[in-house]
Amino acid sequence: MIHNRITLFRTERGMTRKALAELVDVNPQTIGFLERGDYSPSVELALRLARVFGVPVDVLFSLDPFPSLADQIGSVAPSRPEV
């Protein structure tokens, strides 16, 4: 299974699935399938998606699960003193 961060990058840019689908020349349902992990993209589609977001393809896709964003933010945020 290929893990991806398409939803994260898409929502950060305020993009709908339809808008992203038009940029990479697929149907909007396919974006949904990709985001849920129900479909693994071809190399060409993965590269097109990475180009749209302006990131390397291995930032967008991975064979291993991506670490939780909440955990990553929590680990770098300065700890607040307890009241």
Partner: protein, 155 residues
């Protein structure tokens, strides 16, 4: 995918529940017609007429089924659909081929095995092949509809 592929698509997607329902009526209807006709004692009567109506219902539901967007995806040129839809279509046709080969093999067993001749006449084999032909036309569309996992917000 062709830049015009989006424009070529039907404006409104056929509801998945409708295509699934039609596929049950069509494929289930044809097979029910075959099995009931096989079991009927005589070719005439009220019961036989009702079985004949079942075949008409199956035919009648096959037509809208073949006009649905799922049928479009099953039969469209490669340029009109994207890679995911092509992969789903190849999978649907693979399973349809397995179904057809299995059915044809079963249909030809009585032709060669004389011990089955009293039970399975050539008329029965002919009906079986007709049902196989008609259901094979509808099966790829049905498989695409039943395997579709599109969520409601994507439709």
């Amino acid at each position: 995918m062709s830049p015009y592929a989006h424009a070529a698509r039907p404006y409104r997607q056929t509801p998945r529940w409708a295509v699934r329902f039609l596929s049950v009526l069509s494929i289930g209807g044809f097979w029910s017609w075959f099995l009931l006709k096989f079991l009927l004692p005589s070719p005439s009567g009220v019961l036989e007429m009702m079985v004949g109506l079942l075949a008409l219902v199956a035919f009648g539901s096959t037509i809208p089924l073949m006009l649905s967007t799922y049928a479009f995806r099953a039969n469209a040129p490669d340029e009109q659909i994207d890679e995911r839809e092509r992969a789903e279509r190849y999978r649907a046709y693979y399973w349809t081929l397995l179904y057809l080969l299995t059915g044809v093999l079963i249909a030809f067993i009585p032709v060669d095995a004389k011990r089955f001749a009293p039970l399975l006449s050539m008329a029965v084999v002919s009906n079986l092949l007709q049902v196989l032909f008609l259901t094979t036309l509808a099966l790829p569309t049905a498989i695409l509809a039943w395997r579709d996992r599109t969520t409601s917000d994507e439709e």
